[in-house]
Amino acid sequence: MDLIANLSMGFGVAFTPINLLYAFIGCMLGTLIGVLPGIGPVATIAMLLPATYALPPVSALIMLAGIYYGAQYGGSTTAILVNLPGESSSVVTTIDGYQMARKGRAGPALAAAGLGSFFAGSIGTLILAAFAPPLTELAFKFGPAEYFSLMVLGLIGAVVLASGSLLKAIAMIILGLLMGLVGTDVNSGVARFSFDIPELTDGIGFVTIAMGVFGYGEIISNLSRPEDEREVFTAKVEGLFPTLEDFKNLLPAVLRGTALGSLLGVLPGGGALLAAFAAYTIEKKTKLKPGEVPFGQGNIRGVAAPESANNAGAQTSFIPLLTLGIPPNAVMALMVGAMTIHNIQPGPQVMTSNPQLFWGLIASMWLGNLMLVILNLPLIGMWIKLLTVPYRFLFPSIVLFCAIGVYSTNNNTFDIWMVAIFGLIGYLFLKLGCEPAPLLLGFILGPMMEENLRRALLLSRGDWSVFVTRPLSGGLLAAALLLLVIVLLPSVKSKREEAFVEE
């Protein structure tokens, strides 16, 4: 079978000592930032991009991917023990996880989260391996019109499922698209919006935007709030293993969470956050067994389901990236950046032109998940210690790593000035209630969209109807429109707002 042959090649790549080491580093770093509130995977991956220049592309991507799913694990630990979601996708885990910890059942909660995540991660990886090849086949049938429509669908999907105002999110996408156009136009050689600054003719550095907006912007906004009190359960975590009773409750929840997470991860804008949220909502709707602890008071299902879902979602959100070259969320947008830095054009051709990279990355994800579950449970004590590191030590370090990372991208101080400007802009966005993630997606897709629009209209001699008359393209646009209509329906609209308020 092809799948097995491919996977064994992947494991051959992933099992080399050097790649194991980078997967390990990635997982550790990911867990670390997952545990620490105030810094997320987007800023971390942006910071580390320059450090991966010297690595072979496979190792670089393996490490960066490790950061992403490692963060999902780390986030759950703090959610359970400190009632503080280290990662946005662990927000719902705090509800029941922290209550379990307060009742002295921190051990089973952590084990449920860890084992659920591992199971979901494994399934997610398998799905990725099984579905990537057929989707890639489909992608080869895509012409420029289809790609353009697919990107429209992706961008619309990303904002529909995100929180906050829909209009503002769409505006942020367009702003991102525009910023992506700064620099030399590939077709005419005209330097657009570069104000005669030589550095700008290469375009705005993608690392500078990510770090400025997600790194500096967040730090400034964190510092403007008083430090919150943290109640840490440093008291011994004992009785790690869930009881048989727990397992009986946990298993169906893990299965449901995994299924839902895998599905939602593939959708544009989905990924870990939405998956966790939806999984919790479903668990809440299912009937309680007699004698079971109600939700919100420490039900183990309320921990297992969202944690499985966010991990499954984290895995399957690689599908659109690896098969179509379209990033479904901000972290995947950074992965596109990482691939382009290493001269790999993301898209369907990756699987045929770089099979080592493709299958190696997939195999490494499963290994990484295994490492995480083995590492995390014994190391919980260490992660908890880290939480006692005060923010006043943390933030200067983050500022420093951002600055070094930005400088080393091009060995140019110009990027340092740019990141300062984007830090200010990022803070402004937060103040004005504009979510920055859609901006980053737009920024990545801007040049691709223009190129595909240009080609599609060139082929159709300027006839815009080509986007609706070609069946695939028309279908994709119809799906985008449908999404918008559904979200704007009054009943759905109020539900959506309700859902995000609860969060």
């Binding site: 450090a51 010297a54 105002s165 209009l167 503002k168 769409i170 505006a171 367009i174 702003l175 698209l177 525009l178 156009l181 136009d185 077709n187 005419s188 005209v190 657009r192 919006f193 500096y216 730090i219 400034i220 906004s221 510092l223 008083p226 430090e227 923010y391 006043r392 030590f393 933030f395 200067p396 370090s397 500022v399 420093l400 951002c402 600055a403 070094i404 400088y407 080393s408 060995n411 140019n412 101080t413 340092i416 000035w417 990141v419 300062a420 830090g423 200010l424 803070y427 103040k431 004005l432 209630g433 969209m449 223009e450 629009l453 240009r454 209209l457 060139l458 001699r461 300027g462 006839d463």
Partner: protein, 162 residues
């Protein structure tokens, strides 16, 4: 007519102005036609779209009631100043500033400057702690970035390293 949501009003204004600016800038490049797009075509299209969306957001902010008026709130100038200032100091010290004949002072000096200035952005500033942190970060960065990752950047001031 009064502003019902300050956040939306000002973000709408921002989109409107930025969109208009991009659209206006795009007209200085050749726009072309759909079949033969010039470099100005796509940015003009997006700029106009952004400006329209900004206008709509502004309109809603004047019409739709929000519970607390969605105030933007005061700006945290202190963190902004220190964080961005530390970043600028880092850049100047690391790369030097040829326009005022400031030579490059290297990574180590730049790290101390960055940590000292950035720490000021927080609430409790203790010089001893900050110096310890700066030293730890300087040693750590030297080992990680220069020794291990072999990034190319000046480590010591040019007048010492030559």
């Amino acid at each position: 007519m009064s502003i019902k949501s300050q956040k939306d009003f000002f973000s709408g204004l921002m989109f409107l102005v930025v969109g208009a600016a991009f659209a206006w800038g795009a007209t200085s490049y050749s726009v072309g036609t759909g079949a033969r797009m010039g470099p100005g075509y796509f940015p003009l299209l997006l700029g106009v779209l952004l400006a329209i969306l900004g206008g709509v957001v502004m309109f809603y902010s004047l019409v739709v009631e929000t519970p607390k008026g969605d105030k933007v709130g005061s700006f945290a100038w202190r963190p902004i100043g220190y964080i961005l200032g530390s970043n600028l100091a880092f850049g100047i010290l690391l790369g030097g500033l040829p326009s005022i004949k400031l030579p490059s002072m290297g990574l180590i000096v730049a790290i101390y400057a960055l940590v000292l200035i950035a720490s000021k952005a927080g609430d409790n500033y203790r010089l001893r702690d900050v110096l310890i942190l700066a030293t730890a970060l300087a040693v750590g960065s030297y080992l990680a970035f220069i020794v291990l990752l072999k990034l190319q950047m000046p480590v010591w001031p040019t007048f010492i390293a030559g």
